[in-house]
């Protein structure tokens, strides 16, 4: 196979994956590194790549300190209760104190942010969300990244990171192949910021056949952020914390604006309120500290997303489905009706298509909801990702090793879904994290930490062989059979993906088992995954470059799944009922598990080691729930 090797040398900051995190990184890196060489390697086209490809109708993370709305610590407390206590509060505080500056820039760049006509402030959808006309959100931030970067390589699927051979555990760049030409691309770089997004399609989706692409997170979210980092030996955290979404049925249209702005609510199939009746038993599982409906009612303290899922799932399992969203009241107001539709057109067009196809007019009918298959990601209401250093002025010693958002591999940074323990960052927070990582990466270089990096030709050649092996496998064995896809020597990427989804679904708590698993199931899952990985290594076949892309996406999904299984097995409690249940430990257990889980996969042996990391919380001087700090802020 005569594919060229194209080497891009002397890079200072390499951004792998330019979605929201990556565009923020590329943009900001230019400011701190006016003379630095900044390069983007992206598997699609940065104008429409990543989870925001079709746009968004809301920016879900905005403090509004400018209007006196919230302080960063308010957001930390919110994310903490929503995630049942388990967040990296240093990283969240840091993101939250910067996020408004990103949003204000978006407005300046031309992103249409809606304003509240009465107050002049941004139109709130909820306490943290502001409403936008965000169809062009992604092309706009891509423009900013393009202006800053020296070079943008679109259509490069990055498969591996390069490692320095002078100093152990230091990154030295990345490699991949061009999805169009097939050429082998080598990026030698002093620092790498991985922002390659979260993972869909790890669990068997509810949709089948032609509709299998209708997943909540984009089907191209291949878990590459995790696959790349895990392969390089970076420590990961909270990989068990996969998320299940309650969404409109089949189309997975978003519900945020419906609940928060349109004030719609849910009912069971018989028109009854159902949530509250599940709460007493649930309170016994998780404790009053995490679920106290009365206090929530009084103080507007949110009921954690997973616990609301739990009520939903329990009601459906009790035979009283479907759960419906009551839209018929709100939609009588033409203005609200229009918002309801715009909301889909701006970010999940498929839901509008589905309602048009099935004649569902939410003005006259309350649409069905469902709970999705699980997703592995770290910027929505969940916090999977790499174990990263926080900022110097906030982080306790266990969370700080020199450079903000640097993983446990030197010179290797993360942003967005790649960074663990930082839920509720969303689009704006991911962009902000990219900016933070970029500043830190420039500092790392300026501090002389990237001196003397060396990558041997042997390493580059070894990766090249690995990358193209699926094409080779196909070529060798294809002609042993007449035609078709059934071959005793190989499987194709789709067949591998189907196997992965089935095993994750059945052994790691997917939809068909109502999100329940236990140690026995997880161990079988790990065993079967190992066999799948062996089949991948020895017998994944790609007929063409497009299939080669799918093969490597599958590899990254397999690596991500292994981490999910290992973490889920390690945490012996049910921390997030409604996201998943450990059938053998059905209670939340703060005595033993008020900790973050941290893993490392040895890149040489593939062995996993698991550890517990302490949880630090932001507390006020008097532990008064923030009252005093608020007064102080007001007094200023």
């Amino acid at each position: 196979m005569a594919y060229d090797t194209i080497v891009e040398d002397g890079i200072d900051v390499l951004v792998v994956g330019a979605g929201l995190g990556g565009t923020g990184a590329a943009f900001e890196a230019r400011y701190w590194g006016p003379n630095k060489k900044i390069v983007i390697a992206e598997k699609a086209n940065i104008d429409r790549s990543g989870a925001v490809a079709q746009g968004l109708y809301a920016i879900n993370c905005y403090m509004g300190t400018r209007w006196g709305e919230n302080n960063p610590e308010d957001h930390v407390r919110y994310a903490r209760i929503d995630l049942m206590g388990m967040v990296r509060e240093d990283l969240l505080f840091d993101m939250a104190r910067h996020v408004d500056s990103a949003v204000h820039q978006f407005e300046e760049w031309g992103l249409p942010l809606m304003r509240n006509p009465k107050t002049g402030a941004y139109q709130r959808e909820g306490r943290w969300q502001i409403m936008i006309h965000g169809e062009s959100y992604k092309p706009i931030v891509a423009e900013a990244a393009k202006k800053s970067a020296d070079k943008v390589f679109n259509r490069i699927c990055v498969t591996h990171l390069l490692m320095d051979e002078t100093k152990e555990n230091r990154v030295a760049g990345a490699v991949g192949f061009n999805v169009r030409t097939g050429n082998y691309h080598v990026f030698k770089s002093k620092t790498v910021i991985v922002a390659a997004g979260g993972a869909s399609n790890i669990y068997k989706p509810r949709s089948v056949g032609e509709g299998a692409g209708r997943v909540w997170y984009a089907p191209w979210s291949s878990g590459s952020a995790y696959g790349l980092l895990i392969q390089a030996g970076a420590k990961m955290t909270q990989m068990e914390n996969r998320i299940v979404l309650a969404r409109f049925k089949d189309g997975y249209g978003p519900v945020g604006a419906y609940f928060l702005h349109l004030k719609t609510y849910t009912q069971n199939g018989y028109g009854e309120e159902y949530e509250s009746k599940w709460f007493p038993a649930l309170q016994e599982m998780v404790g009053k500290e995490y679920l106290d409906p009365e206090a929530s009612h009084r103080t507007h303290r949110p009921i954690p997303t997973c616990l609301r899922n739990h009520a939903f799932i329990s009601e459906v399992n009790a035979g009283r489905g479907p759960i419906r969203m009551v839209t018929m009241e709100a939609f009588q107001d033409p203005h609200l009706e229009e918002i309801g539709w715009h909301n889909f057109l701006g970010m999940t067009v498929g839901q509008a298509v589905l309602w048009a196809a099935t004649d569902v007019d939410p003005k006259y009918e309350n649409p069905e909801l469902t709970t999705s298959e699980p997703y592995v990601m770290g910027s929505h209401a969940t916090g999977c990702g790499a174990w990263c250093s926080g900022p110097e002025d906030v982080s306790p010693p266990e969370y700080f090793w020199g450079y903000n958002r640097m993983t446990t591999v030197e010179g290797l940074f993360g942003a967005g879904d790649a960074v663990g323990g930082t839920p509720h960052a969303f689009s704006s927070g991911s962009f902000t994290e990219g900016r933070l990582a970029a500043k830190a990466a420039c500092k790392y270089i300026d501090d002389g930490k990237a001196e003397g990096i060396n990558v041997s030709d042997a390493q580059i050649e070894k990766r090249k062989k690995q990358i193209y092996k699926p094409l080779e496998t196909y070529r060798i064995y294809r002609n042993e059979i007449v035609a078709g896809t059934v071959n005793p020597h190989y499987i194709n990427p789709r067949q591998g993906l189907d196997r992965l989804q089935k095993l994750m679904d059945e052994y790691a708590g997917g939809v068909t088992v109502s999100y329940v698993t236990n140690d026995k199931l997880l161990n079988i899952g790990l065993h079967k995954l190992k066999l799948l990985d062996e089949d991948w290594e020895n017998g994944i076949a790609a007929e063409n470059i497009h299939e080669l892309l799918r093969a490597w996406e599958l590899k990254h999904r397999i690596l991500t799944s292994e981490a999910v299984l290992q973490h889920t097995l390690f945490r012996e409690e049910t921390r997030w009922p409604g996201y998943y249940y450990r059938g053998d430990f059905m209670k939340l257990d703060d005595k033993n598990w008020h900790v973050l889980t941290v893993s490392r996969r040895d890149p040489e042996t593939g062995e996993y080691t698991m550890e517990k990391a302490p949880l630090y919380h932001i507390v006020d001087d008097e532990e008064d729930g923030g009252k005093k700090a608020k007064e102080k802020e007001k007094a200023k």
Partner: protein, 160 residues
């Protein structure tokens, strides 16, 4: 829902191939026109539909749950800075036009080029501030929030 391409409208220009985030719009070698090679990896994101200069791409709801006979079409115009949608129900009862802005500035004009702004000082480098901060955080004279300024501490343990 998965895309398809009208034979008579497509001229094989490749814009859709260039933009599809899922890499599934490809040019058919026989017809020299585009088609969706992997409908079950289509997110119905409409990126290709919006990018096609000849409006040759449309969407037909996924066969496994969407009945035939509906239509959701779109025109996106960067010059005018708007996007126009038309939704038609299967039973024809709803036929709706919806319009939304996509930008408030002439396309691409307001995005700064950081290559040409003054380089940051050492003091800024040593601080926690990002580009345009602290000004852009609150658009007043306020500084960056810190644990200290907000009267906070980080403590290990169980706090709710």
């Amino acid at each position: 829902m998965p895309t398809f391409v009208y034979m008579t409208r497509c001229d094989g220009c490749g814009h859709c191939v260039d933009i599809c985030p899922s890499d599934i719009m490809h040019i058919d070698e026989v017809n020299r026109r585009a088609y969706n090679i992997e409908p079950n990896m289509c997110w119905e994101c409409y990126s290709c539909v919006k990018a096609c200069p000849h409006h040759a791409i449309d969407v037909r709801g996924y066969a496994d749950f969407a009945p035939l006979g509906h239509s959701v079409r779109v025109r996106r115009d960067e010059e005018k800075g708007v996007i126009a949608w038309r939704i038609i129900f299967r039973n024809g009862k709803k036929d709706w036009d919806l319009l939304a802005p996509i930008t408030t500035k002439p396309w691409g004009s307001a995005i700064p080029n950081l290559k040409s702004v003054p380089a940051p000082s050492q003091e800024q480098r040593d601080s926690q501030l990002l580009y345009n901060e602290p000004k852009y955080i609150r658009l007043d004279d306020g500084g960056l929030h810190t644990l200290e300024s907000n009267g906070l501490k980080m403590k290990e343990g169980v706090y709710y």
